[in-house]
Symmetry: C2
Subunit: 234 residues, 2 copies
């Protein structure tokens, strides 16, 4: 498994990692559009064609970076979830939101890679869907835990949306009421709307107190999915 197989194999994983590191550096410096295979190779002291032994195309390199980025936000979210007060669902929720935003602000280009415009003709391979779902699953687990503990009450869903919400709940969080599931999906997307607007500059020259606005919005989102402050129900 993790046994050192041979010099060649070890070298391969090392070079692969070095390529990804250098690519990530260029990504952070200039953005995905200016990520150049030749520049990466040059910086690593190899010739561009040699790089194709490790990644069959530029898109494949980007895919690797995409997966890493999803894993990075995902684990940031999971870390925040693990350290938040388990008895305070709204606090857990905002902690995850804040962690996602913090990661996005410190890694804007990686964030753009995964939550911005999809790259040209590129189709996200199946490999990405598992890491991509980690933040969503973290959010869902907060609601699921809160529901198990105290129950969540939300106004009933319109007729048209209920089957879909039931299907999603069955698939992602058995036992969760469909109203909560629908609210979760919406809140998930809306969270990234808040983050994207900030990272992509839509708040430039408009919103100054971004920390405060974000925290406020995150709390409202928690409320929207039915997470209640314990202090109100002693």
């Amino acid at each position: 498994m993790t046994t050192i197989r041979g010099a060649r194999e070890r070298a391969r994983t090392e070079v692969t990692a070095a390529i990804k590191d250098e690519a990530r550096g260029q990504l952070a410096a200039e953005g995905a559009a200016k990520l150049s295979l030749r520049a990466v190779a040059r910086e690593l002291g190899m010739v561009s064609s040699a790089l194709y032994r490790y990644f069959p195309s530029r898109d494949e390199l980007l895919t690797a970076l995409i997966i890493d980025a999803y894993d990075a936000v995902g684990s940031a979210a999971e870390r925040a979830l693990a350290t938040a007060d388990p008895a305070d669902p709204p606090a857990r929720w905002t902690a995850v939101c804040v962690a996602v935003r913090a990661w996005a602000l410190t890694h804007p280009h990686e964030y753009a890679l995964i939550y911005g415009s999809p790259v040209p003709g590129y189709q996200a391979p199946q490999l990405t869907i598992e890491p991509a779902s980690r933040v969503g699953l973290a959010l869902i687990s907060i609601a699921a835990d809160a529901h198990r503990a105290d129950g969540i009450a939300l106004p009933p869903l319109a007729e048209e949306l209920r089957p879909e919400a039931q299907r999603l709940a069955a698939q992602l969080a058995p036992g969760l009421p469909p109203e909560v599931m629908a609210a979760l999906i919406a809140a998930w997307a809306q969270l990234f709307g808040l983050v994207s607007f900030e990272v992509f500059g839509q708040f430039n020259n408009l919103v100054e107190a971004r920390d405060e606005l974000f925290t406020h919005a995150a709390r409202r989102l928690a409320h929207e999915v039915g997470l209640m402050d314990r202090h109100r129900t002693p």
Copy 2:
């Protein structure tokens, strides 16, 4: 002003429009990253260097397309606002949201250009900020109208956020309570979170009933900014 000045000047605006049209076509077909000046020129039967008489760089061409795209969503939103029942604020709100989403789904690449990752090293010039604000202003005007008519009541803001919200309200909608202003900014960003997730494929293999989910979420957003159903207060 709009008088026909001369053959040369008229030709110039025609060629400029033709370039933009062709560029928009390539944008729709392949995305911003694959928009090639040479290909545009080729398709128009001119040589690539001639195109630089009209746009000093590829980025300037993109800027022109960005402004057009902002104007397109903006006017779609304004059209929806104009045709919705003026006495039903939540209906006006959802109408604008639905119009924005519809435009985004029919023009995914143009949408990505303005609400996706900002292009490489590119800084949005001042020219774009006015068209970029049209959707936001439409949403604000709904709340302002509703507030003038019936008043909007929302829970008070936390201390830290109030000054910012007051500043924004004074700047964008004098008379609007700061709570509403804060909710509007958040809802504005969250709306585009919903749209982006759908356009950029985050809902692929996950959410099926997207019309229903979006409408539901848009209604909840209306509620979140304090827009009330008239039927409840006869």
